[in-house]
Symmetry: C2
Subunit: 229 residues, 2 copies
Amino acid sequence: MARRLYELCGKDPARVFSPYCWRIRMALAHKGLEFESVPWRFTETERLAFANHALVPVLVDGERVVADSWAIALHLEETYKQAPALFRGDPDTYRFLVAWNDSILQGGLARFIVSDIPSLLGDAERAYFIESREKRFGKPLHEVTAGREERLPEFRASLQPLRVALRSAPFLGGATPDYADYVVLGSFMWARGVSPLRILEPGDAVHAWRERMLDLHGGMARGAPCFGA
Amino acid sequence: MARRLYELCGKDPARVFSPYCWRIRMALAHKGLEFESVPWRFTETERLAFANHALVPVLVDGERVVADSWAIALHLEETYKQAPALFRGDPDTYRFLVAWNDSILQGGLARFIVSDIPSLLGDAERAYFIESREKRFGKPLHEVTAGREERLPEFRASLQPLRVALRSAPFLGGATPDYADYVVLGSFMWARGVSPLRILEPGDAVHAWRERMLDLHGGMARGAPCFGA
């Protein structure tokens, strides 16, 4: 089988936790495409040189090498037209949702979970991760996530656009999930894979949506290593 | 001419300020459709009885009566297929943007501008407006907007999804504006029409986008009554 997905992990190769890789995991399952997961760690830049890219996900799909989650999603949609569509209509109309996800949801989640990540990493990646993230946030990682329990209500309030959108349909994609759902799920899978913090409360429509997402495609997401959150 | 748009105003019939009406104003201009604006005030519920609806916008388009901005947008797209498209592909893919706009942008703006609205209204509507909004917010309107200058930086930060989306194209719709742009512009036109508060700073990509929007369709939005903000 010639389809390989390079995915971010730490010491445990089964604990893949990149939100961008999760988008593609789910997209591949949505298309009904089998793939082999290739574990990749933060410091292994040279192992992606063949893709002319420094970050995962990278998909090797037969003869094709595609890097960057958005490019991979477009590649899958274009190449596997007979399989269920990832996008309804023009993929560009998903750009605002991705922008919201990357800035508000993923950017917000980072301030709750980033300090949980180092313990999952081997020595070399841990040093790289702490240094690069402390530089990004301008403070020690334990300070970034300080007081997180108290900050959760405000963060949960910022998810209101999801609740409003989910009033009219069970998935962001409508009656069935699409790439919008996989982008947002990716952020939650990142948190779920690295942190014991309970981000969502039962009773929240976003929690109920996530439960539906965890069950998709034979429970692919539900079966991933997590801390029980 | 048989196309009439019922729009919210206060004492000045030219100062139409409903964000939902602005979406349709711009959508009609996008389609190149002329219309007559019919002023409507908060308390004139019975004047919309013919539409079986209690709120504007209501569009009378020849024989058709359509209420609710989303339904009107779909009606325009369906009826005027030869005119420039309002939606690229499935309108449902715009639902998340609308949800974000209504909850975060419009809901956020309300806490900066709601106390500016009563002075624009006639006596009957003013009493209705103050009572209904104070009930909604659970406090006097001047308390809702208290400290607004100090709260602006946090609000501007919440617009980050717009900035990210606008990195790759001049409009949310891409190279040209579409209904996504009109939804978001509607919120800013509401603020601009009722409040002297300077919501956006020059230099902000959202400000630059709004400038482009104000110029569209012969400067329809730029020409609307505002407080110079």
